[in-house]
Amino acid sequence: MSNPSTAKAEAASRPAATPLLDFIRAARLPLAIVVTLVLFGLVEPRVLSFGNFRNIAVQASYLAIFAMAQTVVILTRGFDLSLGYTVSLVSVVASMAMVAGGGDASIVYGLCAGLLVALLIGAANGVLIAGIGINPLVTTLGMSYVVLAFASTVSGGFPVTGLPPAFNAIFAQSAPLGLPTPIWIAALTFVLLYLVLKATRFGRSLYIVGANPKAAVAAGIRTVPVLLIAYMLCSALTALGALLLTARTGSGEPNLGGNLTLQAIAAAVVGGVRLSGGEGGMGSALFGALFVTVLSNGMNLVQIDGYLQQICLGVIIIASLIVSRDDARR
């Protein structure tokens, strides 16, 4: 797969492959995004307005951050099912810290408290998965309920209001150079993570650990710290997204993350991150997030019931699992 000459030879030996089909296959996600936009635009012209594009970009930046977080651990053959409830807990805890501190300076407390909580969750996941060696799916499933219990009780289950107005102003309303802050932050995160994956030892280790854990050990990679850092990085990114979402809603919400686990997984999988590890990257997460956002934005604008959207999300995950499996065969 990494060898271009054999890939070319395989492509040449495939009789059915035409340049057009190859192009469609390679660019299917951007194409799917455009086609989805146009289809929804035919039903509801507002979909194609400039204001809505801006909307989509902002919404996609939150999801992209979560999808990138999920991607970091999926690359290692892992998973984080506690992502959604971590978002809720970070939102509540950060808000409580800001309210307790009072004043604009307390924003810093909030950011630190949120990040700290997330890092604790990530470290717990990492120790259980890497240190003890428990299955990541079930570990993070169990962890998700532990986190849910805290998220729904820390503030008595109520939204935390009274955040400093500057929090919302800085992290949600401001738009340096005309682009809203969330887009800047998502873009910056993307660039940083892209560089980390491509150009650092840790980034390459992630791929090797995911592609072949035994080979990674044989190659002298210390898998335990790599996995531990991966889960902590995943949670830290989750906290970043959660803080941005909290700034947007202007209050700490115990229910903020409900659907986000599934959406982040959907975005990563649709983008082409392989669940068997070692394949995909931050670009996959970004495009996947954009696609899922375009779809849900379109469904919202043509007023498709929220529950039907949930059905669609499930179907899309299964469909892209099947498609990516076919890719692996080629």
Partner: protein, 346 residues
């Protein structure tokens, strides 16, 4: 290639190690449900000491009923997990079959007025049909496309919950037949709740299936090593399909029985059921890698969870913290399993 390398590396180490079954007694105790029996005994004794109301006859009946409602889907989860799979959609199947049960009764009452037992049978058939359909779709996606069962059933959960909520908008469906509630939901056979009797019959069936039938052996074979099972002539696809089918049908049956208990069809039940059943299975010694697990141990684990939940209710622990305990118990049980495996050098 890499497995060969590790085998040669591990061989001399193993030779130096003292006889592996030195801790045989402890190991055997742990293998044969020791963990779950210990858990259960501690939970029962501690609860009885802390809260004497626990031993009250009515409370024990209540525990047994909750145990029964957990036992059936836990056995379902066990069947799939021993076959090397996972079923996160059990809770969603529960919700959708509750909705189907109530809907069939509500709509059917207009065509078959006064024939309540016919309606009950009709809804049972419908529910089993729904369960079978879901199970077959799960199996088809998992085996036909060799997809991750965890992901398939996670996505399926989203689809099924979405369907149940879409048709009900989250509002309970009333109009369940009277005799359904009184006969099945509150009924008793020999002084035991109907649900408990049904669940024990299913437990017995599962024990027979695992110990005495070819299908049971095939499920273990497929779960422990799919390839060698196929090479030794096991119809792996069909075995997996039967496992998923049975699991979904059992989950659907639970939804049917729970509707009788609640007296209405509810699309919001079963949210934590996937976690509960996986917890019961894992505490009962079912391996996450498939191929290992006994129905009777899973039953003890389900009883343990029912006792713990009851203890928390009696001591008025916030129901939200019950999910915390559930999550923590699951992780602890897994950690114990994992550490024991490691000690044994696996």
């Amino acid at each position: 290639m890499s497995s060969g390398a590790t085998a040669t590396a591990a061989a001399p180490v193993k030779a130096e190690r003292p006889a592996p079954h030195k801790a045989g007694l402890l190991d055997r105790f742990l293998m044969q449900g020791g963990i779950v029996i210990t858990f259960l005994l501690v939970a029962v004794v501690a609860t009885a000491i802390m809260e004497p109301r626990f031993l009250n006859r009515l409370n024990l009946l209540n525990v047994m009923r909750n145990f029964a409602f957990l036992l059936i889907p836990s056995l379902a989860q066990m069947l799939v997990m021993t076959a090397g799979g996972f079923d996160l959609s059990v809770g969603a199947v529960l919700a959708i079959s509750s909705v189907v049960t109530a809907t069939v009764m509500l709509v059917g009452a207009q065509y078959l007025p006064g024939m309540e037992w016919a309606l009950i049978l009709l809804s049972l058939v419908a529910v089993i049909g729904v369960g079978a359909l879901v199970g077959l779709v799960n199996a088809w996606l998992v085996t036909g496309f060799s997809l991750s069962p965890f992901m398939v059933t996670l996505a399926m959960m989203s689809v099924l919950v979405g369907i149940a909520l879409y048709f009900t908008q989250g509002i309970p469906i009333y109009g369940v037949a009277e005799s359904f509630v009184s006969g099945v939901g509150r009924g008793q056979i020999l002084g035991l709740p109907v649900v408990l009797v049904i669940s024990l019959v299913i437990l017995a069936a599962c024990i027979v299936l695992q110990r005495f039938t070819a299908l049971g052996r095939h499920i273990y074979a497929v779960g422990s090593d799919l390839r060698s099972a196929r090479l030794s002539g096991v119809a792996t696809g069909r075995t997996l399909a039967v496992a998923y089918l049975l699991a979904s049908v059992l989950a659907a049956l639970t939804g049917f029985l729970m509707t009788a208990r609640l007296g209405s069809g509810q699309s919001t039940i079963g949210e934590t059921l996937a976690l509960q059943t996986i917890a019961a299975a894992v505490i009962g010694g079912v391996s996450l890698r498939g191929g290992v697990g006994r129905a009777e141990h899973v039953a003890l684990a389900a009883l343990f969870l029912a006792v713990v939940a009851n203890a928390m209710n009696l001591t008025q622990v916030d129901s939200k913290f019950q999910t915390l305990v559930l999550g923590a118990v699951l992780i602890v049980a897994l950690a114990i399993e994992r550490l024991l495996l490691r000690r044994r050098g696996a």
